[in-house]
């Protein structure tokens, strides 16, 4: 299998006025074409930093990322992201159809755009809602729109940041199955970041278990479950239960070795400050961007 995404010795340290915070330390992994890889880690372990570096929104302080062989510098052309917060990621002034067409405005003509959007909306079962506005839809439907938007873009890699963390359990099951279905039917390469162990086992072809902050890969597990999964029978199968336990154990190990350091750090510096450092980082990266583009 060829590697669609390869991350090598990735590390990122946020600089703040009164110290530095290493969010990721020495992270290496690959995602093969057509694979669905889940990244699980304790909350605050640097998952969102990982996602932001892969999507080119921030530049890592060391290491390299490449997407089908091309080094990621700035936002790649063929990458789509589905964020957790669908209600803030859909454009409220655009209809469902126009939201899905949004990323295609640069590359496609009007008719092609419309056809592509209609097709993607059909994949997620929303053909009847094209003229509605996001706020007229339920949370689960809004996230379907976000997924359709990402799929319509035909990305080489679909990044998902805790995509189902903000919907109710029933909807979550539906969306998980939907993701598996479109991934199977369209051979999409997907990287899902989640903190939900069950979800990672249910969705993944592989699971990357991360340690607590700074994040590094504790284990890279192949999910030995049939491609066709079912919310009830898969979840009660022995393989599923065993794998879930293993991931949970690994997460705990990851936590305990880093626990002391993390605790000391937490006392020294509040989370809010790192959020600020990250914001500063993003705007710094943007400023750099601006400097290079102008």
């Amino acid at each position: 299998m060829t590697a669609m995404l390869s991350v090598a010795e990735l590390g990122h340290t946020y600089q703040a006025k009164d110290g530095a915070h290493t969010a990721i330390a020495d992270l290496s992994f690959t995602v093969g074409a057509g694979e669905l890889v889940c990244v699980v880690g304790p909350s605050g372990c640097g998952k969102s930093t990982l996602l932001r570096t892969i999507s080119g929104l921030i530049r890592p302080t060391h290491g390299a990322i490449s997407l089908h062989g091309n080094a990621v510098q700035g936002v790649p052309d063929d990458l789509a992201v589905v964020f957790q917060d669908y209600s803030r990621s859909l454009f409220p002034w655009l209809s469902v159809q126009k939201n899905v067409e949004f990323p295609l405005r640069r590359s496609l003509g009007r008719a092609a755009r419309r056809a592509r959007a209609a097709e993607a909306l059909e994949w997620v079962g929303l053909s009847g809602a094209t003229r509605k506005y996001p706020w007229q839809l339920s949370g689960g439907m809004q996230q379907r729109v976000a997924i359709a938007r990402a799929l319509a873009y035909r990305p080489a890699l679909l990044l998902m940041d805790e995509p189902f963390a903000s919907v109710d359990a029933q909807t979550r099951f539906e969306l998980e199955d939907l993701l598996l279905k479109v991934k199977r039917e369209h051979d999409t390469t997907v990287l899902v970041v989640t903190h939900d162990i069950d979800e990672s086992v249910y969705l993944g072809d592989r699971i990357l278990v991360l340690s607590g902050s700074p994040a590094s890969v504790v284990a890279d597990l192949a999910v030995d479950l049939p491609a066709q999964r079912d919310q009830i029978t898969t979840r009660e199968s022995e393989a599923f239960v065993a794998l879930r336990a293993e991931v949970a154990r690994l997460l705990n190990v990851g936590k305990s070795t880093k626990a002391l350091r993390a605790k000391r750090k937490a006392n020294e510096q509040s989370a809010a400050k790192w959020a600020e450092a990250e914001r500063a980082e993003v705007s710094r990266a943007e400023a750099e961007d601006r400097a290079t583009t102008s």
Binding site: S55, G56, L57, V75, D77, L79, A80, V81, F83, D85, S87, R88, S89, F91, P92, W93, F102, P103, R105, R106, Y133, W135, R149, Y153, E286, D289, R290, T293
Partner: protein, 255 residues
């Protein structure tokens, strides 16, 4: 329909109180003519070409002033709102200029621009730029970073983010600014017409009715027309806002 009925009842109540007050003898009748008298004058005025020309002069100046204010304040707001360096550099000047009442600038404006319509329009624009400018800047501050990030990861360039994300997202605030600006424009226009004269308009009509024959009935008729124009402009813009940016009220003001 009920809301309309209530509104009409309110207006009727106001007219009745005014009528009773005007006829009570508490104030001399020539100072505060009752609405029945003013109404008759008003109907007469609506057939009077000179008066209609004054009304048109004010309305036209209002439209031009609002248009110019939008044309100046929105682009300026986009720049100030998205480039912090420019905003910091201009803060002191802006804070100095903003509180200056535009009527205080009349002498300067007459010197520089004469007494033609461009003078009153300039002063109206001066006053109307601020609400639009500040609402635009404020809206950009409130812009959800996730919307920008979403657009960015889908390969949207910086300039396009400004026009395809920041501007539509700011629209509800901008429209509110425009609504405030339009009312301000009308106030300034009528004031300047009244104080400086020279270029016609409702203010000048009111001034002349008062100073010549002391015809308070004409003064009040002119005032009523000014009020109706203000009401119509505000109502029209409110409707446009409800229609164009319905999404912002449903999403709880989030833009």
């Amino acid at each position: 329909m009920r809301a309309l009925t209530r509104g009409l009842l309110g207006v009727a109540g106001f007219l009745v109180i005014w009528e009773l007050f005007g006829r009570s003898g508490l104030v001399p009748a020539e100072y505060l003519p009752p609405p029945s008298v003013v109404g008759v004058e008003l109907i007469g005025l609506l057939g009077d070409e000179a008066f209609l020309r004054d009304v048109v002069a004010t309305v036209l100046a209002l439209l031009i002033a609002v248009g110019l204010s939008i044309g100046i304040a929105v682009p300026l707001g986009l720049v100030l709102g998205s480039v912090p360096a420019v905003r910091h550099a201009t803060r002191a000047v802006v804070e100095f200029l903003r509180p200056i009442p535009s009527v205080a600038l009349i002498p300067l404006a007459i010197l520089v621009l004469g007494v033609g319509p461009e003078m009153k329009i300039s002063l109206a624009v001066y006053a109307a730029v601020w609400p639009i400018l500040f609402n635009t800047i404020y809206a950009l501050d409130e812009l959800d970073p996730l919307l920008v990030e979403t657009a960015r990861v889908f390969g949207t360039g910086r300039v396009r983010v400004l026009f395809a994300v920041a501007l539509p997202s700011a629209l509800p605030f901008v429209l509110t600014g425009i609504r405030l600006a339009a009312t301000t424009c009308l106030v300034v226009l009528v004031s300047v017409e009244l104080l400086a004269g020279g270029s016609g308009g409702l203010g000048q009509f009111i001034m002349e009715a008062r100073s010549g024959a002391g015809r308070m009935d004409l003064v009040l008729a002119g005032t009523v027309v000014a009020g109706v124009i203000g009401f119509a402009v505000n109502e029209g813009l409110e409707r446009a806002q409800r229609r164009w940016v319905a999404w912002s009220s449903v999403t709880g003001g989030r833009s």
